[in-house]
Symmetry: C2
Subunit: 316 residues, 2 copies
């Protein structure tokens, strides 16, 4: 079996999967702000998961993170949405469990999962995974290989400035794609449209600002005009960045991963229209949503261990 | 020997090189607007070059273009700065000469030339070539391989919209990087600053608009403040796009190719400063100018034939 750990800013999910990436058990807990406390909370949960299935040998642990892992040191070095920097998760987990730990950016592991488990045409050569959550990540499979880049930093298109002198991003830059097209962006659009200026000092705006993206999606599905408008704006901005990726990299397929895929019948056409308006290219790129029921982020953690220990099926 | 043909909007250069990519003969002529007339002019020039050196066997012809060549049909499909579309150059040249013709985007062939002939650290894995001329092209060597992408369209970062609702580009899009950072952009900046509004109707603005980029560089070197300011603005905008490339792809090295490299001692720091201001990444990317005396665009055409016929030295 394989232990997969998917760390997100609000919540961390652990799962125990068999080698076919079927989840045999899984649990979640609130991600602790302090990384040291987080590790202290995480380790006994891993140990319990392993102990609960004594008949299954555990091969390794895959961890996916909303950030970048230095190729050399294997430390988490860049994770603005998590608020962590320069954290070593690998050593303490390996010490406590005796198992090899593979750490990878969430978008990279999703891209690997798409190659391992995704239903794509045989031999798809260039595939980008775009994870849309609190931020935006990109995993780049180019010429059948994961692009890691200098010290492991490739794929940070979420932090490309799409708006000159735009809103400040948690990365320190301004106008980043993810500031306009992430789940957080949609929540902000909604808060802006629902907060009544006169009352904003006594906190009504603040309450709206804290709307969860999943609630926003539900409101939108129920026909709430302001929720719908917020999701539409997010989809348009998603299209702008996807246009950039298609213009520059001309992949065969872009897979979008995240809660937004639940609303695909409605947002898919908005994204497609925005891509068309914002790019002029002869590349023939398909834009497809991942299947949310397959838990792509969690499955990505399993792919990390599979590809390390068993070799990739089509990644050279 | 190898025949290399470097097509640019204003001028086409032909060269005869030995297998070490030393140029034995070379000549230039004005690029004919109509592609059919162009081919009619080009073919006898190729034949003369070959006939002049009867002692050298010609192995093939490399052609580099400011546009994209469809991987399947080998036709030129996207060349806004040339004004050509859907042109077959390969068949008529092969028919007339009996030699195999390799066609490739100029930036792609420059990237290959950098890998073949460039003075980079052994085994550089990720190298981007940014050609700055009438437009901007990007050749992407990622994981030691040239990225071609779906139907050969990868690398059109010059046509990524850096300015929302910006100036119209010859590609049909608005606000493209090359509209703000190419040689043509610098010429426009200069024209804008030198045209006197009162006299603009009788054409003084128009004269300034036609300044050649090489003249602009010379004026700038001679201390002309407006020329200097135009080149500075171009360098700042070059930095914005390079910041995007570093953020997204985190290459080991970016090689800048074009007339601008002549002014590198002055523009290099401006580009570096702009990259720093516009990106927040831990990637460690070196930004270096190609050596203009090595005629990188022309050498790129030789690399095209070498890599096809002799296999790449480090490109897998």
């Amino acid at each position: 079996g394989i232990i997969g750990i998917n760390i997100r800013p609000a919540q961390t999910t652990l799962a125990f999967a068999d080698l076919d990436a079927r989840f045999l058990a899984q649990e979640s807990f609130a991600t602790t702000q302090d990384p040291k406390h987080f590790v202290v909370e995480l380790i006994p949960r891993i140990q319990n998961l392993i102990r609960a299935r004594p008949e299954i040998t555990c091969e390794g642990i895959g961890v996916s993170l909303p950030g970048r892992v230095d190729l050399g040191t294997k430390r988490l070095v860049f994770a603005p949405n998590l608020g962590w920097s320069d954290v070593d998760l690998k050593t303490p987990i390996e010490k406590a469990t005796g198992l090899p730990v593979e750490l990878e950016n969430a978008a990279n592991s999703c891209a690997l999962a798409e190659i391992w488990f995704g239903r794509h045409a045989e031999g798809v050569r260039n595939l980008l995974a775009v994870t849309v959550s609190e931020g935006i990540g990109c995993g780049l499979i180019l010429n059948h290989q994961l692009l890691q880049g200098s010290t492991g930093m490739a794929g940070e298109f979420g932090h490309v400035a799409l708006v000159e002198n735009g809103l400040e991003c948690r990365c320190g830059n301004r106008g980043c794609w993810e500031v306009y097209a992430s789940n957080s962006a949609a929540a902000r659009y909604y808060a802006e449209s629902t907060s009544r200026p006169r009352k904003s000092r006594n906190g009504s705006g603040r309450a709206a600002r804290n709307v969860q993206f999943e609630d926003l999606l539900s409101l939108s599905e129920q026909g709430d005009a302001k929720a719908r408008e917020a999701v539409n704006r997010m989809a348009q901005q998603l299209g702008r960045g996807i246009a950039l990726l298609i213009t520059g990299l001309a992949p065969d397929v872009i897979v979008v991963i995240g809660e937004i895929t639940r609303a695909w019948p409605r947002v898919g056409p908005i994204i497609a229209e925005s891509v068309k308006r914002n790019s002029f290219t002869r590349a023939e790129t398909r834009i497809v949503p991942s299947d949310p029921s397959s838990q792509p982020r969690l499955r990505g953690t399993i792919a990390l261990v599979l590809q390390k220990h068993f070799g990739a099926p089509s990644v050279a």
